[in-house]
Assembly symmetry: C2
Homo-oligomer: 320 residues x 2
């Protein structure tokens, strides 16, 4: 049976991981940005792992090995930050091909160390092996103050849905490259995740948090599913950079679709009680309110031009 026949990747994970695990040390297993484990009296240990495959996640003709290394670290750090955590240590596995040169590895690791230094993450272990294409896996551990842990499941009716920075840059950059256009948005080749200190400030005010791996629509969907709520996203409020608007215009595409369905922007999506908003704004202001958490019965939908667009299963992600 093909994986698509059971509903794709998320359905596969649900199927495989459905085994009941009963261990008091597990605060949160599969189903959030990180696993959360008991650690010290005040802190949880959070752990995330991400795999990047050549030709699937990065094309060596586009990405320099330095950029690949950076992205590998940013992807993982983003998951820790989205829990309200501080990343600490990283463990890498690399499958090289017979043709991989030492210089490629030097640059790859330079990128990993550059991003790691920025985020205070030390690379302390790993495994090196061979394959037909380059495959990289990074596991990052972090710590989170127990009271700051923010899960996908914390959203409450009436919360405002917010997103940091701007969205869509990653997908717009990819499409420019695919179309052979000279320009590209830096977000595609050099995505940068939010810092732990930003994540912590948000966590002090927010109820739920997730990073943008698969696009705003998917992330809001995850929050709603985990929290048992509905949501409205106000399309015109989604923050787009001038680069994304320009790219969409050049390519004849809708820029909001990049933000909603593009993914890998590594910004943070969070939900926050309206009374907490001004307190957050005083300390951190680089975010936009893009919608509202509704009762479950309201469903999950996009409000655009006074039209309700359901974001259920049947929605075609790249329909214009």
């Amino acid at each position: 049976m093909k994986i698509s026949q059971i509903g794709g990747e998320f359905a596969l994970i649900d199927r495989l991981m459905s085994k009941e695990v009963n261990d008091p040390a597990i605060v949160k297993g599969v189903g959030d940005d990180c696993a959360v484990l008991e650690y010290t009296a005040d802190k949880y240990l959070v752990v995330t792992t991400d795999m990047m495959v050549e030709n699937s996640h990065f094309t060596s003709g586009w990405f320099s090995p330095f950029q690949v290394g950076r992205k590998l670290m940013e992807v993982n750090v983003s998951d820790v930050v989205a829990m309200g955590g501080v990343p600490r240590f990283a463990f890498i596995s690399v499958a090289l091909t017979r043709e991989t040169e030492v210089e490629y590895m030097d640059e790859l690791y330079r990128g990993i160390f550059a991003s790691g230094r920025k985020h205070g993450v030390h690379l302390v272990g790993g495994d090196t092996t061979h394959g037909r294409e380059i495959v990289l896996n990074l596991t990052v551990t972090g710590e989170v103050e127990k009271e700051l842990l923010r899960l996908r499941s914390g959203a409450k009716e009436g919360d405002l849905i917010c997103v940091t920075g701007t969205l869509g840059g990653n997908q717009a950059g990819l499409e420019l490259l695919l179309a052979g256009k000279a320009g590209h948005t830096a977000e595609f080749l050099e995505p940068e995740c939010r810092s732990a200190s930003e994540g912590i400030v948000i966590a002090r005010h927010a109820n739920a948090m997730i990073d943008v791996s698969d696009g705003l629509a998917s992330e809001v969907g995850h929050i709603c599913k985990a929290s048992g709520v509905g949501a409205r996203i106000d399309c015109e409020k989604i923050p787009l950079s001038p680069d994304v608007i320009k790219a969409a215009s050049e390519l004849g595409k809708d820029p909001y679709n990049y933000a909603l369905y593009g993914g890998e922007d590594f910004e943070l999506v969070f939900t926050i009680g309206p009374d907490m908003l001004s307190g957050l704004r005083e300390k951190f202001d680089d975010f936009s309110v893009v919608g509202e958490i509704l009762p479950k019965g309201a469903g999950i939908f996009l409000a655009r031009d006074n039209t309700r667009i359901d974001m259920g299963k049947g929605y075609d992600h790249f329909a214009e």
Copy 2:
């Protein structure tokens, strides 16, 4: 520059990881079976990660997906056990191909869970993606009592070198399969690592410990390098199973070479003061004394038929 030109995998890791890391939370970074990190007052956190690539580490025609999943867990648990630790949690990354079937994944995870259950390890996180061949990565965390932590660097002159169980089964099994022989040793398709309770009993008596990933010669070499000592391995004392002896005889090979250079047996190699030997034997007896730790100046060598065979760089691993 080719990786072989700088001296292969270990030289590459030395080169890439040479950056000085100065963080008091790192007890031991790269260079042992696990990274060792500060954790609680009495315990360290240990973390290991291992990648398995289709066609490189397992051939789908030989291994069932259940066996692949089991091996993935055993490989990692073995590293934790070799530190004197107790494995706790696992994090998986899987690159599937477009052709991978749901049934394959079901069996793979059944193998992972079967081995995990045996060792008390819970799978609590992961990542699923796509590639041209199946690539699996598992990261396993564990805990070790501070006083039981055993590193490669703890060997002392006069220590006896010991190894659990029997060696060579993995390599003998592989060669039988490569030769198209009907029989095979189970150690190749279904390697089993030692349990945490066995590792802990050994740790209470031993000074240094490592698991057999790359063959006895390589592991003793790692211990000597990390401990700044020399060693003599008494070839005829290396424990071989009847299956390995039979396989070598069928294939016209030297069974000791399987043990010395074959690898992936997942037994434990440890060094122990002669005065501690009988105390260990009372609690755990499935091991053999195969040599002695010598002063550094004595070098690292194999004693066989009253001949000294240097195990330096120039030794041809599979010369008969």
